[in-house]
């Protein structure tokens, strides 16, 4: 049998390289009206009155009064209005759409809309907790009571903006009462379900199609449902095709970002070992809860990172502030937590005067250990080999000592991490319950019918490979079009590193079924539905049990040089080793690895976004700095096989794993270079200067 990992050319290369791929803004030819969003000018205010200019014929407003259903975007926690009604809760919150043919006219009309507000006192601090989760493992009370010493450190992390290069956008039209939406989306069925609810209609009256997606990274997980609802309401009212495409600044000011966080970790120490840990996590949810609770739970579950700690007290809150709502971003709460825990274990070791590497190796999770939620690491963990490999490639042991003692301002940092694959807890079975279909037509072409979106991560290629491999047919005999909810079943959203492991796993099983039922020249359709492995038990209330069916693992080593004159950080090298079970396509996984790594590194040292008086200060690509080619270090990545029995060909999740270790690795490298404790990211030159002037060694 062929090795599935052997790379093939990606199936969408040609259309993308030649510029023929159709992203939503590229779709022309309908007689589109355009929509312009009228937004709040204050972070918190009561809308007293709205004065509209006289609208010429063919120009419309669309607001909450036009909504047939309940004015809320159906996400996970339904608290975000589609259009603000009486009150606005963040700067630029949408209030209404202006719709019409000529953008110049719309722009002019928009400038004449006058809204009278009664300004309310906004809240930007971590004071209004709307979600609190708390769980324990072992006996943390006794562990802390009996501790020889308790060591505590605080950590904080900033915003991160997805900065997909294609801004958000959606278009739609109606045929009779049926509404079709085409967009840059990760989750066709999230959009469909949100639109069904907002129009208070039936499933067959809503169709959602994915256009080519120019990057997403979580940013197109829940946010597109908001635009889709607005657009659907507008189409329902006006009955004309409408296009709603964001400019970059609008996108950056109003779309969801990675949650800023404040994390306090406390360790109970006995005999130079961490026998217990208390973690307290605060996430800034922004003005609406949305996915924040789910993000928080992933963060909390990742409290112990790649380590096993027997006694835990884990506590976290989502705080509501009058700022842009935060949401999904590759890693989903784990990047904040993994930064904190990786720094913490180093800081604890330093406090104790012992070698961090020794302490880490001692605490490293092993097969059959209990997870932070008293689940079990059932599958083999090959972190020891991975760490050895990473240290050998990077010459870590020598460099870390050398850089600590010299004044070269060079540094090396190594992060260890894991990522739970798929939805947290029982989400896969209770919320998603994925269904996949394969159809073989009379010409013997096999059609993959799933709702998974190729947003660059290559699932069009990898899914086809799985099917072709199982059926032993050429790749060209397999078709996988962009999902269209009129044709594909709900195989779930394209999120949470679930697509290959869960959906791909189902597809592999479906392909096997098809192989058995194959009748040449006749149509054959097979289906597979997700079934939770019987051993996976999860209690959503108490956070006890197996939070994930499987874990992917990784090691990142990063070497930096800090300028002694300007404190700017130059990334020299990055080495990574990953266990993603089995790569379905090695080149695609390396692509995920490089790209995820760059985003993770950017999060750690470069990408600054703040709000000031509720307004995003870094609202364009000039001010929000992401890495360019010149900033990228040379990268070396090794993939180690460790097949997961339930994944297709042994594959586990990969998409998020490659991001989550970047920030701690670069932060540790900077710490090693400047010999001051790093407790905050992004670690900018301004902060490095502060540390050098006033920081703790």
């Amino acid at each position: 049998m062929k090795d599935i990992s052997k790379s093939v050319f990606k199936v969408d290369n040609d259309e993308k390289i030649s510029g023929q791929a159709q992203y939503v803004s590229d779709i022309m030819g309908y007689d589109f009206l355009y929509a312009f969003t009228i937004r709040s000018e204050h972070p918190k205010a009561i809308i007293k009155d709205i004065n509209l200019p006289n609208l010429p014929p063919g120009y419309y407003t669309v607001d909450y009064t036009d909504i047939p259903g309940k004015n809320v975007v159906k996400i996970i926690f339904d608290d975000m209005p589609v259009f603000a009604e009486k009150q606005v809760n963040y700067y630029k919150e949408p209030i209404m759409l202006l719709v019409g043919k000529d953008k110049e006219v719309l722009k002019n009309l928009a400038s004449m809309v006058q809204i009278e507000y009664e300004i309310l006192e906004p809240l930007y601090t971590y004071d209004n907790s709307v979600i609190n989760y708390h769980f324990t493992k072992g006996d943390p009370v006794t562990a802390f009571k009996n501790a020889e010493r308790v060591i505590s450190f605080d950590y904080d992390t900033g915003y991160q903006e997805q900065l997909y290069i294609e801004p958000q956008g959606m278009l739609g039209y109606s045929e009779g009462e049926k509404v079709t939406l085409v967009g840059s989306i990760q989750c066709p069925y999230y959009v469909k379900n949100a639109v069904i609810a907002i129009l208070d209609t039936t499933p067959e009256m809503v169709r959602v199609q994915q256009a080519a997606v120019g990057g997403a990274f979580g940013g197109k997980e829940e946010f597109p449902s908001l635009i889709a609802c607005q657009l659907a309401v507008a189409i329902n009212k006006i009955k004309r095709p409408i296009k709603l495409i964001y400019d970059r600044e609008e996108d950056m000011e109003v779309t969801t970002k990675r949650h800023p966080s404040k994390i306090t970790l406390e360790a109970a120490i006995v005999n130079n070992r961490i026998v217990g840990m208390r973690s307290k996590v605060g996430l800034d949810g922004g003005a609406h809860i949305g996915l924040s609770g789910v993000v928080l739970s992933r963060a909390l579950i990742a409290s112990t990172g790649a380590y096993t700690i027997d006694n835990l007290d884990v506590n976290g809150d989502v705080f509501i502030t009058n700022t842009v709502p935060n949401g999904a971003f590759r890693g989903f709460g784990a990047p904040q937590m993994l930064f904190a825990i990786e720094m913490f274990i180093h800081h604890v070791a330093t406090e104790l005067g012992i070698d961090p590497l020794t302490m880490r190796l001692d605490a490293l999770a092993k097969q059959n250990d209990k997870t932070s939620t008293n689940g079990t690491f059932r599958d083999p963990i090959i972190m020891n080999q991975m760490i050895e490999k990473a240290m050998e490639m990077s010459d870590y042991k020598r460099k870390v000592k050398e850089y600590q003692n010299d004044d070269s301002f060079r540094g090396i940092g190594m992060s260890w991490f894991l990522h739970g694959c798929g939805f947290t807890g029982s989400g896969e079975s209770t919320h998603i319950n994925a269904l996949v279909k394969l159809k073989k037509d009379e010409q013997n072409q096999v059609h993959i019918l799933i709702a998974a979106v190729d947003m660059g991560q290559g699932v069009k290629t990898t899914m086809k490979k799985i099917v072709a491999n199982v059926l032993d047919i050429p790749l060209e005999q397999v078709t996988y079009n962009n999902p269209d909810t009129d044709f594909v079943p709900d195989s779930g959203p394209t999120v949470a590193s679930r697509t290959i492991m869960i959906v791909g796993g189902l597809i592999a099983r479906a392909a096997l079924q098809l192989k058995q039922k194959w009748v040449e020249d006749y149509e054959v359709i097979v289906e597979e539905r997700y079934q939770q492995p019987s051993y996976v038990k999860w209690d959503e209330e108490t956070f006890q049990g197996d939070a994930y069916p499987a874990y992917s693992w990784g090691v990142n080593v990063v070497e930096v040089e800090v300028s002694k004159v300007t404190y700017q950080v130059n990334l020299l090298n990055s080495w990574s080793v990953y266990d993603v079970g089995k790569a379905i396509d090695e080149r695609i996984i390396i692509g995920q690895a490089d790209g995820g790594q760059m985003q993770g590194l950017g999060y750690g040292y470069l990408e600054v976004m703040r709000t000031k008086n509720g307004k995003v200060e870094h609202k364009n690509v000039t001010d929000y700095i992401i890495p360019t080619s010149v900033d990228a270090p040379s990268m070396e990545t090794v993939i180690m096989d460790n097949p997961f029995p339930l994944g297709p060909y042994g594959a586990k999740g990969a998409g998020e794993l490659t991001l989550v270790g970047g920030a701690p690795a670069v932060a540790l490298a900077i710490e090693n270079a400047i010999n001051h404790k790093v407790q905050s990211i992004p670690m900018t030159p301004e902060k490095i200067m502060e540390l050098i002037n006033h920081g703790n060694n």
């Binding site: 390289i17 695609i588 364009n620």
Partner: protein, 157 residues
């Protein structure tokens, strides 16, 4: 409004349009050349890159007046060349394409670089494509693709 005449993908074209309009908008909306992408509208991301008299420019910063009597090539025109085929192959071999939104601009930047410097060093490539943001790949695979094209397309540039 003045009629602006220029060469677009090797054909002479004319538009009568507000002279301050962005070349980007004219290409996309008037000529339906949607391979030219708008990523940021402020010259930072390079997704809208085209060749103007053979040199890369960001079409979101170019008023249409400035291309009067000049030569513009977009990805649509470029994709009909031998150079394109070589670069395309190299991009595919190295896995340089993920979401694809930056890719047409990146191809234009690669071509512009190789035209000036057929045997670029890694540093040269990094500098040559530094005006084109990619959020998916971490750039390494793109850099390798340009290196590969420089070898496999020996003599073309």
């Amino acid at each position: 409004m003045e009629t602006i005449k220029f060469t677009l993908n090797h054909k002479v074209v004319e538009v009568e349009i507000n002279e301050t309009k962005r070349l980007l908008d004219v290409l996309r909306e008037h000529f339906l050349l949607t391979g030219v992408k708008e990523g940021c509208g402020e010259g930072e991301c390079g997704a809208c890159a085209v060749l103007l008299d053979g040199d890369i420019v960001n079409s979101c910063m170019v008023p249409i007046a400035n291309v009067k009597d000049h030569d513009v090539v977009t990805i649509e025109g470029y994709s009909k060349t031998k150079n394109f085929e070589v670069l395309k192959e190299a991009y595919a071999e190295e896995g340089a394409v993920q979401c694809g939104f930056c890719t047409p601009g990146m191809m234009i930047a690669s071509e512009a670089l190789l035209r000036k410097n057929p045997h670029p060093t890694e540093e040269d490539i990094k500098n040559g494509i530094s005006g084109n943001l990619c959020r998916c790949t971490g750039y390494n695979m793109i850099i390798k693709a340009v290196q590969r094209a420089s070898k496999s397309g020996e003599g073309l540039w």
